[in-house]
Symmetry: C2
DNA sequence: ACCTGAACACCGTTCAAGT
DNA sequence: ACCTGAACACCGTTCAAGT
């Protein structure tokens, strides 16, 4: 006696009106919304709409919205170029690692926020971290310093990209310029008795675009790590 | 002829059942919810409930939720102790500034998130910034470096506190310890061909509590700023 | 196994109406 | 001027029911 397959396993001739749902298809749709409208627009309901279903259908492939955000973040990290370690000079590839991560995240609006609100651990995130550890260790940075430096590097790049994306979102370049000069005027206008330094440094406080500020930060962090690793500052 | 005052200006004998609404009262209620349940619980509706009104009533005193969050952040910054500048040694007060800001923010759950998502500019935030500029300039740090360093310091402290608050929220200390050892095991279990460094550094990657990691970061940043200011790294 | 509609328990904000 | 109720246009997630 032959038991017939249940109806959902029987092949159907009717060609499907919609492509089948899958984790990848969901992340695809989510990435499209992210790049077009930013992370806040990536809601379960919006993704479902994009895929011509109801939001409940997504939960068969993704356990919740946070997990979906982390899947998106990992996909983005897969786009990062990983600098080769250099035994004679770890500073340059270390800085390049930060620049590459920055550029990759910046291409996708405010995804950076995902890694601020959680600690993503997808395969591409791990590969990226492995690459940084290889760069630092090849240069002789001690293991504990290299390990904690990874956190420091990630935090710095991530928040820098995120702040940049906030600026980019709220109006274009001219709007940004305007905000900066308003801020400058505001600093100048502060009572000099209480805020002598803020008022005096109005120009330097508002100087530099995102890139100049980012480069300052990576110089400081890499120089500091070099000093720390060389034992100028005693580890505790 | 005497024009009578409009009814809402006429004194009333009926003692009010509820205290009158005000910006301060709203921020008070919001702070209570923040300290008890975290920033996500601070919603307009929840605050209104606490004050025995409807959410619409709040909008007479506060323009929106983001502004309210910034008012809260500024109030918290008012609790920060500001280290005195020292002309002979800026490193120590600079580090102490970071520790003090860290401690202050950490006392209030995940408020730190407010200053990640926006750039608060309330009076107490400005006073705190002024204090850091005074410390750095007294030590001879050049103006541009001091200005950009303020951003760097703020970013570092803020994200450190926020990550700490995420850890603290998701279960207590034993739960945290457990997560750490799971992470350690996970790093060890990674395929050594692809993840040699991550696997080898499992112990150092998961070593150190929040304080040790925080201290590492401030040492690196301050050492780096010193190197930068001394011209070891050429400014661009 | 996979998908669905409907519901639950929330949001921030607006707006006409009341005092 | 200040406060209110009701509504608008959303959320994430669950759950019983369908195929």
């Amino acid at each position: 006696m032959v038991i017939p397959a249940p109806p959902w396993q029987r092949p159907t001739r009717k060609r499907p009106v919609k492509p089948p749902l899958s984790r990848d298809a969901i992340v695809d749709a989510a990435m499209g919304i992210l790049d077009g409208e930013g992370l806040d627009a990536v809601t379960m309901r919006r993704i479902a709409e994009e895929l011509n279903t109801g939001p409940a259908s997504l939960y068969a492939h993704v356990s919740n919205k946070d997990e979906l955000h982390e899947l998106m973040y990992d996909r983005v990290c897969g786009e990062m170029e990983l600098p080769a370690p250099d035994g004679t000079n770890w500073r340059e590839p270390a800085k390049q690692w930060m620049r590459n991560l920055h550029a990759t995240l910046a291409r996708h609006r405010d995804v950076a926020r995902v890694s601020i609100a959680a600690i993503p651990m997808g395969p591409n995130v791990l590969r990226s971290g492995e690459s940084l550890l290889a760069i630092l260790r090849a240069g002789g940075v001690p293991d504990q310093a290299a390990s904690w430096a990874m956190d420091l590097f990630l935090n710095y790049v991530t928040t820098a990209v995120y702040e940049g994306s906030l600026m980019a979102d709220r109006g274009g370049w001219e709007h940004f310029q305007e905000r900066i000069s308003e801020l400058n005027a505001y600093f100048r206008s502060l009572p000099p008795a209480e805020f002598p330094n803020t008022a005096a440094l109005a120009d330097t406080l508002t100087a530099g675009d995102g890139d100049a500020r980012f480069e300052f930060g990576i110089e400081v962090i890499v120089a500091g790590l070099a000093a720390y690793a060389a034992g100028v500052v005693p580890p505790r």
